[in-house]
């Protein structure tokens, strides 16, 4: 261990130990001795948007096929002798993994055999094994996952919206890639991506539950393989502040038409700035459009929306940031006009301060509530590191937010010219 810090939540009597391990890995541990279970995530800052990169000393930037981070996640479960699921089967742990736009996580949950399960996690993620044969086998499985997603109308709605918002940013491409792009993946490419992004300096281990920090660190000391920080460099294409297309439409077998209205926002420089902006965006939009608003009730009465309507959590990452709302409607364009009218009025005349304060209080309640769960605590630790903020920082930031901040945010950051309406209908 090089450095360690105990971080305590402003409310909720919870704390976590953050350790900078000598191998370069960040480790966050929250002991929850009253619980039976433990939840662990081991992951890297590598997702579908990381398509152009090189290491210090390498001459050229590599450009890799779409969907390769997700493909790598699938393949890492397999080593020469058996796959990780077979190993977990011997401990009883429930294991899984996921790849998002900017991160990949390998995780398990267990009520017993925590130590051997953690050993499996740390071991298989650090020992890749790819061959042409196993890559070919996975192409069939992932092709089916891609087709499954294409039949998901909400998936289509979401990616069409991203395609409408962004000209070049790789967030506009599907996390799993396409059947054609994954056909270009081979073992050598997977090894190159692995060597680049699965460096412990680019990774984190987050654990919450019935564990002891010293036991976790003992296992880490034994199994983490020291590596040098190789100086990862990435390039993201220049992205205009404007949107590419204000309406995106798709046809699919759906009973009720689906829609989303997303506002492209300016990306933020630091994790803390982004976290604050996300909370302001969410609170401002909720104050105006959530189920306690006058607007919502009117839209229900006019049958323009139904209970599926909601304000989405802001969506942000490296070089992209948006906030949106959506649901089901037979007249999505009319709903858009009604939303625009409310936003224009709020920008000019302000909005309901009481409602803002009530929603802030509800958000505080949500944070306390999430501390109940081993899984959400471990995920909070993981996401905090990935987003460049400290654990529990959201609680402190929330406490300092005021109505005036939300109004200013609305006036300065949310532009009707940057809204994309995405519709999926039969």
């Amino acid at each position: 261990m090089i450095d360690s810090e105990m971080i305590t939540a402003p409310y909720g009597e919870q704390s976590c130990l953050r350790v900078k391990h000598q191998t370069g890995l960040n480790i966050d541990i929250m002991e929850m001795p009253d619980y039976h279970s433990a939840y662990a995530l081991f992951g890297t800052k590598y997702g579908s948007v990381n398509t152009r990169f090189k290491l210090k000393g390498e001459k050229d930037f590599a450009e890799v096929p779409e969907g390769i981070a997700h493909f790598l996640e699938h393949k890492l479960f397999e080593n020469e002798d058996c796959d990780a699921f077979e190993r977990y089967a011997k401990t009883g742990a429930i294991a899984n993994a996921y790849t998002s736009f900017d991160r990949t996580a390998y995780l398990f949950m267990c009520s017993e055999n925590f130590k051997p399960s953690l050993e499996i996690l740390l071991d298989f993620v650090q020992h890749p094994y790819f061959t042409q044969e196993t890559v070919a086998k996975e192409q069939g499985i992932i092709a089916q996952e891609i087709l499954m997603n294409q039949d998901e109308p909400n998936w289509k709605l979401f990616f069409n919206s991203l395609k409408g918002m962004y000209y070049h940013h790789p967030v506009r491409i599907d996390i799993a890639g396409t059947v054609e792009s994954i056909a270009k993946i081979d073992a050598d490419l997977l090894y190159r991506c692995y060597r680049t992004f699965y460096n412990l300096h680019n990774m984190t281990l987050a654990i919450a539950g019935n564990v002891k920090a010293e036991e976790v660190l003992e296992i880490c000391d034994k199994l983490l393989i020291p590596c040098e920080n190789q100086g990862l460099e990435e390039v993201f294409p220049e992205e205009p502040e404007t949107i590419k297309c204000s309406e995106m439409e798709a046809i699919a077998p759906v009973g009720m038409p689906l829609f989303s209205l997303d506002f492209k926002l300016k990306p933020k420089k630091t994790g803390s700035e982004l976290l604050k902006a996300e909370m302001l965006a969410e609170l401002a939009m909720q104050t105006l459009f959530c189920s306690s608003s006058k607007w919502y009730q009117e839209m229900l009465e006019q049958k323009l929306i139904n209970f599926e309507f909601g304000v989405d959590m802001p969506f942000a990452g490296s070089g992209h940031f948006s906030v949106g709302l959506g649901g089901e409607s037979r007249k999505p364009r009319e709903v858009r006009e009604k939303i625009f009218a409310v936003l224009e009025d709020a920008k000019r005349n302000g909005f309901d301060k009481q409602a803002f304060d009530r929603l802030k209080k509800a958000r505080y309640g949500g944070m306390i509530r999430s501390m109940n769960s081993v899984e959400s605590n471990a995920s909070m630790l993981f996401d905090s590191y990935m987003s460049g903020v400290k654990p529990f920082e959201s609680v402190s930031i929330l406490a300092e937010l005021h109505y005036e901040d939300a109004l200013q945010f609305l006036r300065d950051e949310i532009s009707l010219d940057n809204a994309v309406l995405s519709i999926v209908h039969a």
Binding site: C110, Y296, R358, G365
Partner: protein, 421 residues
């Protein structure tokens, strides 16, 4: 967790689960009635109206405001059918009083709020029907939901398989009725159906948290009148068809859905039935996952789930059109291997570890505490988690083989690609 059950009056009981580690208080009210599919639309619509309005908070907006004032408290609910029993659930939770910033008594307030919704609904001026406005909003909501069934292809295919596998039985119906049944309703019909439900249903109340239970008990004590105990049948086995029924339908989809229903002709214990399904396709090391997905690369998912109340196991997979038959054959081959006992002994050992691990997770969330106690009620079995683990431990390979040999293919449903899709 420490649990105390008290009979409040005939047909109404309160179970308090004391768990100081949670930072929340949670209440669940479960109402049980013998399933009557002709009443599902009424009951389901009434349930939605109760969740979104009441006399004191007469609109969604007012309800939401109240929940936000209670620090983002949530009132939720669901309707479902288990065996031949219709279940109406209402839940509410809020952060523990000690976290309230201004000393509010949140637990009491949220309980009173929930009871307000259940016992003082928003009615018309004659007090004999729900208001037209609340009724119309929820009616449209339910119609939209029925129309949206096809949005989720996997769920839609599962619904279609159940209609085919359990044709003529209660389990073939969705728990919210059909579009035609919903359209035939009026605010009065729905309210009267709810009054009858409220009067007759067996009521189970659960509390999870660390507040003083006697204060809550007072709130519940006079809320519900005594009622006769209902004859609730949670186990309703389905007879296997003499020949498997195969239904093919088509839609504009990219991926086909393949679902199979297997049925057992015997009354198998819950533990043995669950274990057989886990070995066949219920884990990432099961026969279906290891072979149909991993070895043959035919699909992204191929899994099985038991419906013990119907003596049935449902297998589902998403596959390409050209692999539909091949996948079905591969699934049935794995069933045959299970029946012949041609599987590694470790598979049983590992499945035991998997289920034991999952059982011991019970108690780490308020919802799992309630689910555990409710499941015991449904199974009419008072075995603790550790006693159930012992039952799983006793299962032998021969038991699995014998159970697998009672399984027969009953129905197959294929959602295929429409031509020119």
């Amino acid at each position: 967790m420490k649990e105390i059950t008290k009979q409040l009056c005939e047909g109404v009981q309160l179970t308090a689960i004391a768990e100081p580690k949670f930072k929340t208080n949670s209440i669940a009210i479960v109402m049980l009635m013998p399933a009557e599919p002709e009443n599902y639309a009424k009951w389901s619509l009434a349930h939605s109206i109760l969740l979104n309005s009441c006399e004191k908070y007469p609109s969604v907006t007012e309800m939401s405001k109240k929940m936000q004032e209670l620090y983002g408290s949530h009132i939720n609910g669901s309707v479902s059918v288990s065996g031949d029993v219709f279940q109406m659930n209402f839940t509410v939770s809020a952060i523990a009083d000690s976290y309230a910033l201004n000393g509010e008594k949140l637990c009491q307030e949220m309980t009173a709020f929930l009871l307000e919704c259940l016992l003082h609904p928003l009615l018309n001026s004659d007090s004999n029907a729900f208001t037209e406005q609340a009724f119309q909003t929820e009616l449209q909501e339910l119609l939209d939901m029925i129309a949206s069934e096809i949005n989720d292809k996997r769920a839609y295919a599962s619904k279609r398989l159940k209609e085919i596998a359990f044709a003529g039985e209660i389990a073939s119906h969705t728990c919210y009725g059909t579009r035609e049944e919903v359209l035939a309703l009026t605010p009065e019909i729905v309210y009267q159906a709810y009054l009858e439900f409220l009067e007759k249903a067996q009521i189970l109340i659960y509390y999870v948290g660390s507040e003083n239970v006697s204060e809550l008990e007072n709130l519940f004590q006079n809320a519900f009148q005594p009622r006769k105990l209902q004859n609730l049948c949670f186990y309703s086995p389905s007879a296997c068809k003499s020949e498997p029924v195969i239904v093919r339908e088509s839609m504009k989809v990219n991926q086909c859905q393949l679902l199979l229903a297997l049925k057992s002709n015997q009354n198998i214990s819950f533990e043995l039935f669950r274990m057989t399904s886990l070995i066949l396709g219920g884990t990432p090391f099961s026969l279906l996952f290891s072979n149909v997905r991993e070895k043959l690369s035919l699909c992204y998912y191929c899994s099985s789930k038991d419906i013990r109340s119907k003596n049935s196991i449902i297998i589902s997979s998403g596959v390409s059109a050209e692999n539909l038959e091949k996948t079905q054959q591969a699934i049935l081959e794995q069933l045959e291997l299970l029946q012949k006992g041609e599987f590694d002994d470790n598979l049983l050992t590992n499945a035991k570890r998997y289920i034991i691990n999952a059982l011991r997770l019970t108690g780490d969330t308020p919802s799992s505490c309630v689910a555990e106690v409710l499941e015991r009620f449904i199974r009419e079995d008072h075995a603790s988690v550790e006693e159930r683990i012992a039952l799983f431990e006793q299962i032998t390979k021969q038991d699995i083989i014998a159970t697998a040999n009672t399984l027969q293919l009953d129905s197959v449903y294929m959602l295929e690609q429409e031509e020119n899709a």
